[in-house]
Symmetry: C2
Subunit: 290 residues, 2 copies
């Protein structure tokens, strides 16, 4: 009944002797509760989030539906252990292209331990987290039946420079996404995935408006997950663009202050995506810097 | 001809044996070039800024007018030394109330020395820089002829908590700004200073729109300076609200990326100011969190 998901691009992944998430065939995703405080913090977040009635529905849908916790056999066969149960936003899709973007120019929260802060700060400085306010944690881009997915190693992705990020965001919506960053991406799907009233940009702008005002939560080390399907787009149908926030093990209370760390990174990501849309061949007249 | 300015609330201030800025009686402000790279970096910024014709006028007016550099006798009598010459935005005012707010949740830039980074990080964590995305560096609030100014010590201001910042931003626009944070501020001038089409909030929102798009400069350790005059406001006249960006010794090139660090802090400050306006007695119906 439970199996290891095919399409995970970041986070702890199940393999021999390593515990990881599972899925079932009814569209639910089971994330093992991490044994330290992180598991309980994520449960706490989902519980609190579910209970806050003022969060509008158009924002609520950026979060996976939460079904509580459940004791199931761990992926590594080590026995039953508690799992978060939530909506599976990926496995229900056919050949999904995915990108996981960890938000914020700081992945550590002020009350964390000194060791944790220094570890995060080091990683933030070594990746694009510090200069860009976000870093790509992982992605997979579907090519076609023959080429399958381009799903680079975690280490390769974390080594991305600013220019690599720019190219990867173009490759993500291109038909010539060969397995490297070299070929000039054609951005064939940019308009249908990033653009339009339900595209990534429109969705990120909705999130931005909420983050300019919400002071309930601060989302440290949280990711924006972008998903779409290439094949329907090739046939002129909707690519089924989905934007979700995931990973809430480091969410803390906002205490009346906006999450300027997430928001700053979100505005930076929005600018990258807008620049791609503004620089498509037929849009070149719109280019401007100020 | 040159004298030490009366109304400086942050930064290096001239006193016996300490070099500091000077003003003349024609409305110019002379800032001694700091002997390390900071002085030359600020000159470089003003020079580059002046040369970029794409910066629109409604943004240009947030920056003090720059008149080049000039060799004049230093304030400490140590002989002639080069000074930045710029518009004096404060001394031309009568009994100005001022607040200097250092922007960003990070005051250090990625390429700074390890020592400098650690020094800044420590201060950012000890002040509201980290939690709020900005810190109040200094202020003076004019009371009346008898009480004069409330101008607290630098050290006291840097010790502000989130709640202290909230109260100080209210005190700044109150008629009962006694010399402490205890009395409940009446926010008598909130509407005329923070509100309205030329008020602080409207001006900060204009800046925000620019920062969402501009990728030319990253403004580390730069301040927003707010100035107004209480006496005209008491007579029903305009309080002459001015919002300026100042201190550009740590501005670096944006290299195609927005200044998400400044922008995040700016959005946080905007939320603080909006909250004050939304919670004025006659506006209480407008209160909302999401």
């Amino acid at each position: 009944m439970f199996k290891i998901p095919d399409h995970q691009v970041a986070g702890h992944q199940a393999s021999t002797g390593i515990i990881g998430p599972l899925i079932d065939d009814s569209g639910r995703f089971y994330k093992p509760l991490q044994s330290d405080h992180r598991g309980s913090q994520e449960v706490e977040f989902y519980t609190k989030f579910s209970s806050i009635t003022e969060i509008p529905n158009h924002i609520r849908k950026f979060f996976p539906i939460y079904y509580g916790t459940k004791q199931i056999e761990a992926s590594d066969g080590s026995g039953p252990c508690p799992h978060l149960v939530m909506e599976d936003v990926v496995s229900i899709r056919t050949n999904p292209s995915l990108m996981d973007i960890k938000m914020g120019s700081r992945t550590w929260f002020p009350t964390a331990s000194e060791d944790y802060i220094m570890k995060c700060l080091k990683k933030d400085r070594e990746t694009t987290t510090l200069p860009l306010g976000f870093r790509i944690s992982g992605f997979q881009i579907y090519g076609d039946k023959d080429s399958g997915y381009w799903k680079p190693e975690r280490k390769y992705v974390l080594g991305f420079s600013t220019d690599d990020v720019r190219v990867a965001l173009k490759k993500f919506v291109s038909s010539n996404s060969s397995n490297d960053l070299v070929a000039e991406p054609d951005c064939a799907f940019a308009e249908s995935v990033y653009g339009g009233p339900n595209g990534v940009l429109a969705q990120l702008l909705k999130l931005k408006t909420w983050f300019e005002n919400q002071t309930i939560f601060h989302f440290y080390s949280c990711s924006v997950l972008m998903v779409y399907e290439k094949e329907p787009a090739l046939k002129g149908h909707s690519p089924g663009v989905t934007v979700k926030l995931i990973d809430f093990a480091h969410v803390i209370e906002g205490e009346g202050v906006i999450d300027h760390n997430f928001l700053g990174g979100l505005c930076s990501l929005i600018k990258f995506i807008s620049d791609i849309l503004d620089n498509l061949p037929h849009n070149s007249a719109q280019n401007s810097e100020n």
